[in-house]
């Protein structure tokens, strides 16, 4: 019974470089979410997938951020030309269906991204 797996757990990158963050959701979970937590902040919604499509991308902070999901499973979050303000913990979560009263999100342990 593996949970949500994220890799890498830590990533240090230089300003201006591109980074890819990976999320393996729980098997069978059709819904997948990306959130981020900046220092001293709450969990900020980025994007939601249902299957391979992303009906809600409203939280992506800029066009430098993109995400995709393939095979209804693995998702990658890509940040192009990273900036120091992108430094945060990026959290992935999955659920059986759309998050609801009886279908809470299951989170991974996150990727801590540091942009120097």
């Amino acid at each position: 019974g593996a949970g949500v797996s994220q890799s890498p757990s830590n990533k240090v990158t230089e300003k201006g470089k591109d980074v890819e963050l990976r999320c393996d959701p729980i098997s069978g979970h059709t819904a997948l979410y990306w959130y981020r937590q900046s220092l001293g902040q709450g969990l900020e919604f980025l994007i939601y997938f249902q299957g391979n499509s992303a009906p809600d991308k409203s939280g992506l902070p800029s066009d430098r951020f993109s995400a995709e999901r393939t095979g209804g499973s693995v998702s990658t979050l890509t940040i192009q030309r990273t900036q120091q303000e992108d430094s945060a913990v990026y959290l992935c979560a999955s659920s059986l269906g759309r998050s609801s009263y009886n279908s809470p999100l299951h989170f991974g342990n996150g990727t801590r991204l540091t942009v120097t």
Binding site: V4, Y33, Y35, G40, Q41, G42, L43, E44, F45, Y48, D56, L91, A93, S99, S100, Y101, P104, L105, H106, F107, G108, N109, G110
Partner: protein, 109 residues
Amino acid sequence: DQQVKQNSPSLSVQEGRISILNCDYTNSMFDYFLWYKKYPAEGPTFLISISSIKDKNEDGRFTVFLNKSAKHLSLHIVPSQPGDSAVYFCAGTDDKLIFGTGTRLQVFP
């Protein structure tokens, strides 16, 4: 515009006493609310939820109260235990989960 607010960044409670964590929201369209608990270097884990049509939900030591007219909810933990020390996030949803900034609870012996 922060739709979910947790105005107390931290709370310290003695073991065995009651912990009360508060949360306010502005979005009247939220149809249910959840509390998540987060330990350092781990992802948040689901704790308890409540539908907007209810005013109380209880699960063991944890009880969530919802006051819709005040747009306020609270999480009660009784009795508090040292293992409850963590950051607690309140969240509301009408479509996607919107989280508050969290309250760090410390339970001391």
